[in-house]
């Protein structure tokens, strides 16, 4: 049986009209229009395009909710195996629309999406991690080259074949760093890379340096003596027995524990952090998360209150992605609870 493709294009490629038609609401046609026609031909006996969705670029971007509601309904009704959108080349609004359709379809229906864009298209960043975005030229002159690449990828996906490297397959990197086996061991690759550097030959790093973003400093606490301070640690301090089973490395979750009745962590807590010698932290857990000192400052009236919950996770080997998730979740709780300031300790 042939797999079913549903095709998405804008008003121009849908042969409705140019800029003057950019405000048109989406329509669905059970025929192959514009690039869908050529694409269908490229699928041969393996698959077929069952229809074309056409939507004005302005309409999509200005009425995203309504546009998506119609589009998603059509997709649900025609139940395709895969969605193909564009290619949008360097058309910004068209790119944003392809991206919007791709994200909605993947998130809500879990149907794969293949599209195409020029590397500078503003729609790229929001969908590259989820959809497969084929790299195209910046103008529609590249249509003839882009469609076969997109068709090949669609056929592979429908056969459940793993895609090769972005450069080999012609798509734009999704930003996924996948572990694979090389034919040379690491030390040999290092020696080869150094030899290249020493003889001024070209070489390619296997790990481009990460880029970390910045956040503006939050305003200071005006009056410490009226403030509630929360204590957070990535040092893996947990109540004995690790009731929430937080991992000793590469944490997938965080825990929070009521410390309102405690004077110190010492006595009931220990560390499950796999990244350091735990002997000293287990002797006096407050060496990692100084609840005892905060409680003293509370008694002395230096601070108003220590927040009733203590938050904890393991920092070692924990992906930045998970740290961001934990920080966002914990920060939300602290914000909602009206916490004024946070002390976060790391090991």
């Amino acid at each position: 049986m042939k797999f079913k493709v549903l095709y998405y294009v804008n008003q121009f490629f849908g042969q409705i009209g140019g800029e003057e038609e950019a405000g048109m609401a989406p329509v669905f046609k059970k025929e192959n229009i514009g690039p869908a026609l050529g694409f269908n031909g490229l699928l041969g006996e393996e698959g077929e395009v069952v229809g074309t969705l056409i939507c004005g670029d302005n309409y999509f971007n200005e009425n995203k909710e309504e546009a998506l509601e119609y589009i998603m309904n059509v997709i649900k009704e025609s139940n395709p195996d895969i969605i193909v959108a564009g290619p949008a080349f360097n058309a910004g609004r068209y790119g944003m629309a392809c991206s919007g359709v791709a994200n909605a379809v993947i998130d809500e229906l879990n149907i794969p999406v293949v599209t195409g864009m020029y590397i500078e298209n503003p729609g790229l960043d929001s969908c590259r991690a989820k959809a497969i975005v084929v790299e195209t030229t910046d103008s529609a002159a590249g249509m003839r080259k882009a469609l076969p690449v997109m068709a090949n990828i669609v056929k592979k996906l429908m056969k459940n074949e793993e895609l090769g490297l972005p450069a080999e397959e012609g798509y734009i990197s999704q930003g996924k760093r996948l572990t694979v086996l090389s034919d040379k061991r690491g030390s040999r690759r290092a020696v080869d890379m150094l030899l290249a550097r020493l003889t001024d030959e070209p070489f390619e790093t296997e790990l481009p340096m990460p880029v970390f973003d910045k956040v503006d400093p939050a305003p200071a606490i005006k009056d410490l003596s009226k403030s509630t301070i929360a204590l957070v640690t990535s040092g893996g301090m947990v109540p004995h027995g690790n009731p929430d089973r937080i991992q000793s490395a590469s944490a997938q979750k965080w825990g929070k524990y009521d410390v309102s009745g405690r004077e110190a962590l010492t006595g009931e807590y220990c560390t499950i952090h796999g990244g350091f010698d735990p002997v000293y932290a287990n002797e006096i857990p407050d060496r990692v998360a100084p609840l005892d000192m905060l409680k003293e400052f509370q008694k002395e009236g230096v601070i108003g209150n220590v927040f009733e919950y203590f938050y904890t996770t393991t920092g070692t080997g924990t992906s930045v992605g998970n740290s961001i998730k934990f920080g966002t979740e914990i920060g939300k709780e602290l914000k909602e609870a009206g916490v004024d300031g946070v002390i976060l300790t790391s090991t």
Binding site: V215, P217, P219, A220, Y280, G341
Partner: protein, 75 residues
């Protein structure tokens, strides 16, 4: 985690030993600590000295929360 909490507008002080990493990843208020296995403490000191040290470090953290800053600052 530090940055994500700060994004909510809550001031946060990062008590960490390897402050070079704190700065690279974008913490704004930083209190340098003693060593990775015992950031807020020092088992090599006698009990009363360790107590004073620990109290001072937390005091510095509170001072950090109480101080307006424009750029990365160590307390």
């Amino acid at each position: 985690m530090v940055k994500e909490i700060e994004r909510y507008g809550i001031p946060i002080v990062h008590m960490s030993t390897i402050t070079t990493i704190s700065e690279s990843v974008g913490a704004n208020r930083i209190v340098p600590t003693i060593a990775i296995p015992y950031p807020v403490g020092n088992p090599n000191l006698p009990e009363n000295e360790e107590y004073t040290l620990r109290k001072k470090m937390v005091e510095r953290a509170l001072k950090g929360l109480n101080t307006e800053i424009k750029e990365v600052t160590q307390f």
